[in-house]
Amino acid sequence: MTREELTEKLKEIENKLIAIEQTVDNRIFLLCEKENSYAANKFLFEEVPLRFVIITGIDSDDCFEVLYHYAYDELGFVVTLKAFIRDRDNPSIESIAPFLPGAEWIEREIHDVLGIEFNNHPDMRRLILSDDWPEGVYPLRKDAKKPEVRPDGKPTRRSAAEMPTDRKVVPLCKPVLSVGPFHPLQEEMEYFQLTVDGEIVTDIDVRISYNHRGIEKISESLQFDQVPLLVSRICGICSASHPLAYVQAVEEIAGITLPERAMYVRTIIAELERIHSHILWAGLAGHFIGYDTVFMWAWKYREPVLDLLEEITGNRNNYGNLKVGGCREDIPNELIPKINKDLDGIEKKMNMLTGAVLDDPVLHSRLKDVGILKKEDAVKFAVTGPTARASGIAIDVRRDDPYAVYSDLDWNVITRPEGDVFAKAVVRFLETLEAIKIVKQAIKKMPDGPVAVEVKEIPAGEGCGHAEAPRGETFHYVRSDGGNRPVRHKMRAPSYVNVPSFRASCIGEYISDVAITLAAVDPCYSCTERMAVIEDNKVIHDWDALLGLSRGKTTQIKKDTGLPGIRMEDLEIG
């Protein structure tokens, strides 16, 4: 579809809308009353069709606004349907979750934080607020206070007796396996409830909230220039992508053009982050299936990337290098030879690791056909990033709505059609190699010049920024009233849409396969092998000999099992 065709298509529902606005070239806002939102959403998702991104709920002065963000990736458009709820006392709107399961979580969240009812929602349990959070206190409303400072003297937190069970009720005859909230393999707190029939998982439920820090509210109390430092701490591993999406949203509002070098610096930092994040995942994934050699190797090879980031930005994580209008720090030219040298080293190691992992028959039999996320499910749950690309959906914000300098560089979007865990691993490994390629080109082509422009005022307006984080699309919506801080700042991390897709990929799997499908659940933490076998102070097997032994064993297993290996050159990239 061309631009004109898309605008024509959107005009088909004009009779349901109040207005169609276009803020910048590829951002369209459709305004409607809440009564028409269901039909309009169904049209946008099923007829056009657009990819669902997220919903933003806003407490405006005289009404509630519910913003449904969609993306049209072919053209890099963001289409936002803005529905107005005029009744402030009993706000309600029709739920879109029945036909769009990817919206289930966000509707529950908006119900928690703004108190908007979603009619006909399949599952309106509490999602984001804690068990002891009092009923009727909605933190994102403008007049909200912390429960501790309620003026009416009511008990401020729910007691244990008052707490309804937020767990999914399962008939007593069915065995339930609880995983979390603390689990030896989970870095973060999450609670999974697996209903099982023998070894087979028949249902899965997730309880979050453990990590909810209320960042959207904090952001409203910070100045535009301070927010990047906050959003880089949404997730420590995406600490370049979140600020990137945010500053792009603000730059869209203010119409700022960046100096060229700033865009190159942004690209380099974002790609270095992708390299370290993908290697980190590879290590953890290896760990979850009991392959600790990969864990230790991967994390060892990740260290030089962190050292590079530290030299460029001053910190191994939480780089804090982005600001509205450019970057805070430049990459010194004298560092460039070192970056190139280190990248060569990393590339060599990654080639070796990629070959070793993708060629391993044990991994083939362990990961292939496990946890398949079918393409149609991927669309329904609106997943992004490697999760989507491994299910055959070729979306990548870097290509679809190019930012920084991605459109000037030569690189590929990696996709695989299978949708299983192995495909996700392949996508991530090959993407790491692509990222190295991108950084190398960017360093070569980077022009001299300033890395920031001065920004004085952020005018009133609204902007949508998105960036491709290692895990998928990070989306930020910012609204400004012309003051010095955002009046509403919605952020959506890629995992928010990727996690609920477990419901499609885990049900019907074996318990032990759910572990790697969730990529976080496997109750085993063992130590790594040492590198040299020493007896009476004499080295019997050194590093090379051990490597040779383990390679020999892999070849033997391959021969014994007859499983085909996969070679790098056989993988189609496109």
Binding site: S209, N211, R213, C235, W299, R316, T528
Partner: protein, 143 residues
């Protein structure tokens, strides 16, 4: 020094408790175990249950949902134990201090149930692996 404290100082086993961190402190903790830093050389080992642990490595500024779980984990840890508040958030809620869902920091939650708890602080956002190791060594040397 009692024999119990003395025994605690050798090869402490640690349990990692995330109470609402951004994952940065957590990956730096895991980083300590991987080849570059490799604290397992000193017998420092991440264990799967607080009942096996001598020390808790707590990250994050404690969200409302995490607070009761943190108390429970502390209750289950055999005493004496050392609580390490790793990172700016664990020390004083960091950048999230004004969040409506934050009830921490870590020392406040722990002291509610044990006023005499031994708490060590490793500030930084995130603290580098070197800082975490140095914090552990310092705390063990003054026990």
């Amino acid at each position: 020094m009692s024999w119990k404290t003395w025994s605690l100082k050798k090869s402490p086993w640690v349990f990692h408790v995330n109470t609402g961190a951004c994952n940065n402190c957590d990956i730096e903790i895991v980083d300590c175990l991987t080849p570059k830093f490799d604290v397992e050389r000193f017998g420092i080992k991440l264990v799967g249950s607080p009942r096996h642990a001598d020390a808790l490595l707590v990250t994050g500024g404690v969200t409302a949902q995490a607070a009761p779980r943190l108390r429970e984990v502390y209750r289950q840890t055999p005493k004496p134990c050392v609580v390490f508040a790793v990172g700016a958030c664990a020390c004083d809620k960091g950048i999230f201090a004004s969040g409506y869902h934050m009830v921490g920091p870590v020392d406040k939650i722990i002291r509610e149930i044990d006023p005499d708890a031994i708490i060590a602080y490793v500030p930084g956002c995130p603290p580098k692996p070197e800082a975490i190791i140095s914090g552990v060594v310092k705390a063990l040397s003054i026990l």
